[in-house]
Symmetry: C2
Subunit: 270 residues, 2 copies
């Protein structure tokens, strides 16, 4: 460990520790254009998808692992920095009592609509004003499972680069496409090419099961407490509802996206 790009940090007040801790805060992430991802599995997903951390932070006492060796090698090749520190400081950085033994700093991705290739996948998930980072991450994870192309975040959503969203995505933040746009940007983009917009609706709608889905299908779910604005639903090509047998009139947003997404997947397969 005597290469130029390696450092050992043992002090809590080290500027790098402060920088890493600051990435738990959205304002600092925006300013730095960087975010934090934790855990060997997640970082391996990133690496295998061509995303190598600019900085890799590891506990100085850790179990050896071939995937960690591969990660270190990739960071070396990319000219990134490797930092070793104590488990205590890692815990301070991650804000968890039992931190992962490894974390990485990544440059935030370009999340403009132009980065998406709609022909690359038959299903896309679209969330409007999604407030919960856990729901956001879960939608990315579900998108990966159903073979979606990615997640499009409409209007004021939670931050996809927050530690909670990255964690809940289980690595899918690195493998799914990701875009952030206003409705007024999204709709013209959608209508500039092929694409069916399907709204999960609480209003006048057809049953989600057996509805006429076509690829590429954009599955749109609304805010956790308010659902979709009426004009968003009206602009959709298809409004579908799921049975509600109980007292409540809605599902958790990530659950609604998953149930609908799996239905679209089965429908498009034939």
């Amino acid at each position: 460990m005597d290469r130029a790009n390696r450092r050992q940090i043992t002090g809590y007040s080290n500027p790098t520790v402060k920088f890493l801790k600051s990435l738990r805060d959205k304002k600092h992430r925006r300013r730095e254009g960087r975010f934090l991802a934790e855990g060997l599995r997640l970082l391996t997903d990133a690496r295998e998808n061509g995303r190598v951390p600019e900085m890799l932070v590891m506990a100085d006492k850790r179990d050896p692992h071939p995937l960690l060796d591969a990660l270190i090698a990739a960071v070396d090749v990319a000219g990134g920095e490797i930092v070793e520190t104590t488990p205590d400081i890692l815990s301070k950085i991650s804000g968890k009592d039992n931190p992962q033994a490894v974390a990485g700093v990544f440059a935030e991705f370009d999340t403009t609509l132009a980065t998406l290739d709609r022909s690359a996948a038959p299903i896309w998930l679209v969330a409007q004003a999604l407030r919960d980072p856990g729901n956001l991450g879960t939608m990315l994870r579900t998108g990966d499972a159903i073979g979606a192309g990615g997640l499009i975040l409409i209007d004021d959503c939670a931050d996809p680069f927050s530690v909670e969203a990255v964690r809940a995505s289980m690595g899918a933040v690195f493998t799914q496409g990701l875009a952030q746009a206003t409705w007024d940007e999204f709709l013209p983009w959608l209508r500039s090419g092929a694409g069916q917009l399907v709204a999960a609706s609480l209003r006048e709608a057809v049953p989600y099961r057996g509805a006429p889905y076509t690829a590429p299908c954009f599955v749109l779910v609304g805010n956790e407490s308010r659902g979709l604005p009426d004009n968003y639903e009206r602009a959709s090509d298809l409004r579908v509802t799921m049975p509600m047998k109980g007292r409540a009139d809605s599902l958790n947003a990530a659950v609604a996206a998953a149930v609908l997404g799996y239905e679209v997947l089965a429908s498009l397969k034939g």
Copy 2:
């Protein structure tokens, strides 16, 4: 507001405030046998399901609402206590910056398997070692939506009476059946009557879509990171898998339960 069961609290150090705050902690909930639920809608769900809080806590400056009047009347009839306090103190109690204007203290329910009537519903959700209270609450909410009888928590799960679980359930903690048991208690109970045990499996299994579900169907999902123990899967009547098109090999536990639960609902209907 001069009846005997009404009190005004303005001090942070008031013992009632300390008691209410302590209910955010599992150890104190167990000791007191009480839990906290917040929000007019949630408390109304509880009331309409015959669950009236022992103590109702309200902000002293609040908007009038007929549902709040109904709640106050129900607490009065049941001989419960009504406490008025400041928004600041309510915020202290709930641990949120924007607390709901009303909260209630409930006695914890009996959650033994004997309280469940399996003939009351065609679907039951079963979670094993579910660690995340948000997932737990979401499963209760989903259970309500699919007309499930309730949620059975196997082995060491998150606390269904935690503020996070109650909140995520959106009131379904009051309307769904709820049981906590070890696997060694659950399996004999299940086999003592009718019931198909369906495991969401990552191993050898049939596709979840079109699988031969029969009522009452017990949908079993495993721990967030480890999935189900092998012997639990083998003891199940049916092992089903959902398509995994991406890099990951699993779904969020609450998502898996929902996708599978909606499939069972559709299958049993037709």
